[in-house]
């Protein structure tokens, strides 16, 4: 219950709720197996290591990936590419292609690297149809070394034409990073056959814990990466004169890792594995389309398409009722939505907006909740418009 009303949680693009199997798995680890991973010979250390590495194994299996580096989330995964690959491979005058659709976490690390290395950043514009300008994209790739593209927009729910983009990058010899934080929770991804060099995403947007995510890396790109965080666990040997590093993913996982979070994420992956994600996606998209249509009929501006591969995100504004006011009024009746710029200010600027209200749906949301949401929105519009 929230504010005396049953919770209707529609802020899943920010973070999802956690199934009890995830909470129990983390609780069990702390209760019965708590130890540090990898080094010690005692039993608990073995259980902790199995738990932590079990997450990596599950990720590799689910996404068909040879390398899965565990990070603190999508942001750290992208920063790992910026520092681990970018510093080792980019020099002054090199070009990175970004898009206006990116989350700040896929803009700011590159701006920092550009400042440090004198790298040029090119931004692909977003059209008024909420898609990337592919002609501009093709042009921007000329002479580029890396492209960074969001899989699915956290504001619009629009899924980009990744296959076309990856093919273009491959043709031009441009490495490509996909920010899949909003994509992976809604779809299958066969990383080995996808063609991208790097894919970054977080556990907490797919029913896993906060504080953990992953970077999937193709073997040829993995070979080009250097560690940027030094410390325990990532080394092979340390002497006064220098250190050598591990050769696998551990090279990028310095220090005690997120053991409980990895165990929780593994439980979430197993739980999601029991769900038919394709039919769930269709169901959620149906809910999103219903909500978008109803909001439009109330006079709202809705930003997004809700086409076949898009995510179940509905961003909207009302011509006269402020978005923040809508969110507070909804919250008072138990509806959790997000407002603001959604950490995507360049996109909002392109669309001429300061912010939107965003309702985002995930596997536990129902059509009944969507209908109650629309009823509440109708009441708000009737009373405050």
């Amino acid at each position: 219950m929230v504010n005396g009303y049953p919770l209707v949680y529609l802020d899943n693009a920010a973070t999802t709720q956690k199934p009890s199997v995830v909470i129990n798995a983390m609780n069990d680890y702390y209760t019965t197996s708590n130890a540090n991973v990898h080094r010690a010979v005692h039993t608990l250390a073995g259980e902790a290591t199995d738990g932590y590495e079990g997450c990596r194994t599950a990720l590799k299996k689910r996404f068909n990936a040879e390398f899965a580096i565990l990070t603190s989330g999508t942001t750290e995964a992208i920063n790992l590419v910026a520092h681990g690959w970018g510093r080792a491979n980019l020099k002054q005058g090199d070009v990175i292609v970004l898009t206006e659709m990116e989350h700040h976490s896929d803009i700011v690390p590159w701006q920092m690297l550009a400042q440090e290395r004198g790298v040029e950043l090119r931004y692909v514009p977003v059209t008024q149809q909420f898609t990337l300008d592919m002609e501009a994209f093709t042009y921007a790739l000329e002479g580029a070394k890396l492209a960074c593209v969001v899989h699915t927009s956290n504001v619009l729910g629009v899924r980009n034409p990744l296959e076309d983009i990856i093919a273009l990058c491959s043709e031009k010899g441009v490495r490509i990073l996909i920010d899949a934080a909003q994509g992976v929770p809604h779809t299958h991804l066969d990383f080995a056959n996808f063609g991208a060099d790097f894919v970054a995403f977080s556990a907490h947007k797919m029913c896993g814990p906060t504080g953990i995510g992953a970077l999937l890396v193709q073997p040829s790109a993995f070979e080009e990466m250097e560690p940027f965080m030094g410390g325990g666990d990532m080394i092979e040997n340390v002497s006064i004169s220098g250190s050598t590093f591990q050769s696998d993913e551990h090279k990028f996982e310095a220090g005690t890792p997120r053991i409980a979070e990895a165990i929780g994420w593994k439980a979430a992956l197993d739980w999601l594995g029991s769900i038919d994600i394709d039919s769930e996606h269709e169901r959620l998209l149906g809910i999103a389309r219903y909500v978008a249509d109803e909001l439009r009929s109330m006079g709202m501006d809705v930003y997004g398409r809700h086409e076949h591969q898009d995510s179940a995100v509905v961003s909207f504004t009302h011509p006269t009722i402020n978005s923040e006011d809508i969110a507070h009024l909804l919250d008072a009746r138990g509806f959790a939505v997000r407002t603001g710029h959604h950490c995507a200010q360049p996109l909002l600027q392109r669309l001429g907006l300061l912010g939107t209200v965003r309702a985002s749906f995930y596997v536990y949301n129902t059509m009944d909740e969507a209908e109650r949401f629309i009823a509440e929105m109708n009441e708000i519009v009737e009373k405050f418009a």
Binding site: N322, S323, A332, R333
Partner: protein, 137 residues
């Protein structure tokens, strides 16, 4: 912290309301209480940082009394400005500097006043106090 009498009465009024929705709707009514800062006078200097919507405040001190003009895009934010106007307008600088923003929680309007949260009210409150400090040196 002892609040001005008018503010104490407002806290009691809000507490008596049935639920949060009623409190928010009542708060909207206080949006008209502000000394409105005209939109064409909104500048980067008047902007309240860290707000989800546009919120602007301009503070002046005359005869040791604090006066301020304010306005916001969101009714809820401007309603909070209206409450602040009732609490602060014309009060001595010393009293304004002693005031804490906790009364918004006591009214049952805001659940978190953490400075790290995107919180228009906390930021506008801090801006008023900071400007009073700047002016009084």
């Amino acid at each position: 912290m002892t609040y001005p009498q008018q503010l104490l009465e407002l806290i009691e009024e809000f507490k008596e309301l049935g639920d949060k929705r009623e409190r928010i709707e009542y708060l909207f009514e206080f949006a008209t209480e502000v000394n409105e800062l005209p939109r064409n006078e909104w500048t980067d200097e008047t902007r309240v940082r860290g707000c989800q919507s546009e919120a602007h405040i301009r503070v002046a001190i005359h005869d040791n009394a604090v006066h301020f003009e304010s306005a916001a895009d969101a009714q809820l934010v401007q309603g909070l400005m209206g409450i602040l106007t009732i609490a602060i307008e014309g009060q001595p600088t010393s009293l304004v500097l002693e005031l804490t923003p906790d009364f918004a929680s006591e009214m049952g309007i805001l659940t978190s006043l953490s400075p790290s949260r995107s919180n228009g009210f906390r930021n506008m409150f801090d801006k008023i106090q900071q400007e009073v400090r700047n002016i009084t040196g």
